[in-house]
Symmetry: C2
Subunit: 238 residues, 2 copies
């Protein structure tokens, strides 16, 4: 079995903890078997690329470990990051089902392990398993939902500080909260944050410093503490 980049195949997707968790949990036994048969697993180092925007879709990647940056770039090198994928997510799904090209580029930002399913195998599997197809539709709906959220941060803000505040709040949504405070492990560089909210690296640096001065956030090493979600929300609804 060939894999992109000729990286070594680790195992055939048995022990991977996240496996098809989100997408294909609770499928009937034969379906799970069929899925396992067409799945191959590989490890990717930091900096590797799963697929590139514009490439014809080869198939889907189910992320088991690590984190992946999904982005799109313009001709002059400007980059917009759509989202950072966490383990359990399925990458390349829209392009694979529609048969178009990947609309985004997927770069590994933390060493990752992923299960790959080739497009034809995947489509055949979906045709055989109607409930899996429905599951895929739901997954796509959620992906769409996230894209819309991202659009809102970028498109509905009046100022860069509003965008950053929106971003921090969305980013923190997945983290546990205790009395208005949230601790976030911020693994993104200012540059990357800028690319997520559509602004420049310098303004992100300045705004974060500003937020710190205003006691809105606190920085301890690489963890960010939102000291007052309420105040951040005030900025958003300024």
């Amino acid at each position: 079995m060939r894999t992109p980049y000729g990286l070594e195949i680790i195992e055939n997707c048995v022990a991977c903890p996240h496996r098809e968790e989100r997408l294909f949990c609770n499928l009937p036994e034969p379906a799970v078997k069929a899925l396992a048969a067409i799945t191959s697993s590989a490890a990717y180092p930091k900096g590797a690329t799963l697929f590139v925007e514009g490439q014809p879709a080869r198939g889907v990647f189910i992320l088991c470990n690590g984190r992946v940056k999904l982005s799109t770039s313009s001709a002059d090198g400007k980059t917009l990051i759509l989202r950072i994928s966490e383990p359990g997510e399925v990458l390349g799904l829209p392009a694979t089902v529609t048969g178009k090209s990947y609309e985004l580029t997927a770069d590994i930002i933390e060493p990752a392990q992923a299960n790959f399913i080739a497009r034809n195998d995947f489509l055949n599997f979906l045709r055989e398993n109607g409930d899996a197809a429905l599951r895929v539709a739901q997954q796509l709906g959620e992906t769409y939902h996230l894209a819309i959220s991202e659009m809102r941060t970028i498109g509905l803000s009046h100022s860069a500080s509003e965008k950053l505040a929106r971003f921090l709040l969305e980013w923190s949504a997945s983290c546990p909260e205790e009395k208005g405070q949230v601790r976030i492990k911020m693994t993104l560089t200012h540059e990357e944050i800028a690319q997520m909210i559509g602004s420049s690296r310098e303004t992100v640096t300045r705004l974060l410093a500003d937020f710190r001065r205003k006691q809105l956030v606190q920085v301890v090493g690489s963890t960010l503490i939102l000291r007052s979600k309420a105040d951040l929300e005030a900025i958003v609804n300024r």
Copy 2:
């Protein structure tokens, strides 16, 4: 059968030319029958609203005639238009399959006729008809694709003129072209264009005047002629 707004039911989806064309053409006969049984058709005047962002999803609307504006707004009234839907498209699909709230607001901008399918009926139908579910997944994939395009125009541009140029080119993509020229029936106000590209009404007015001066476009009544797609592309890749 109750319909939103208590508008009169015109017919039970027989003569509607676009029917489930895009989404459910070529389904086996019994599936088509089952679909017809759960579908109800209604007409909506200009200005009516099919659904509002934040409402729990009631079901999907298949647009037969007319045009619909899909948008999202912030608390302070700023609006971002995601896209203008044409006949044949299915509205509310992501929210309906995921069971979340509608993420956008759907306003009728040209008198419309649409077929409505309630969420439960629709999901049951998909469970019974695996191939239809796959079709839905594909439709969702394309919707996602369009959202990404929109993100690119807004997020990857350095200037408003770049955004407008991108917008015009995307908008013209669906129109027939002859030797670099494209005629577009521009049914949007400057305000609406501004809301699509994330800028202000005045800038759109000014930029269009500017484009006219530079012979990039020509305006005849409500039709816009792109005199030079190549030059517009040059602006995009400035």
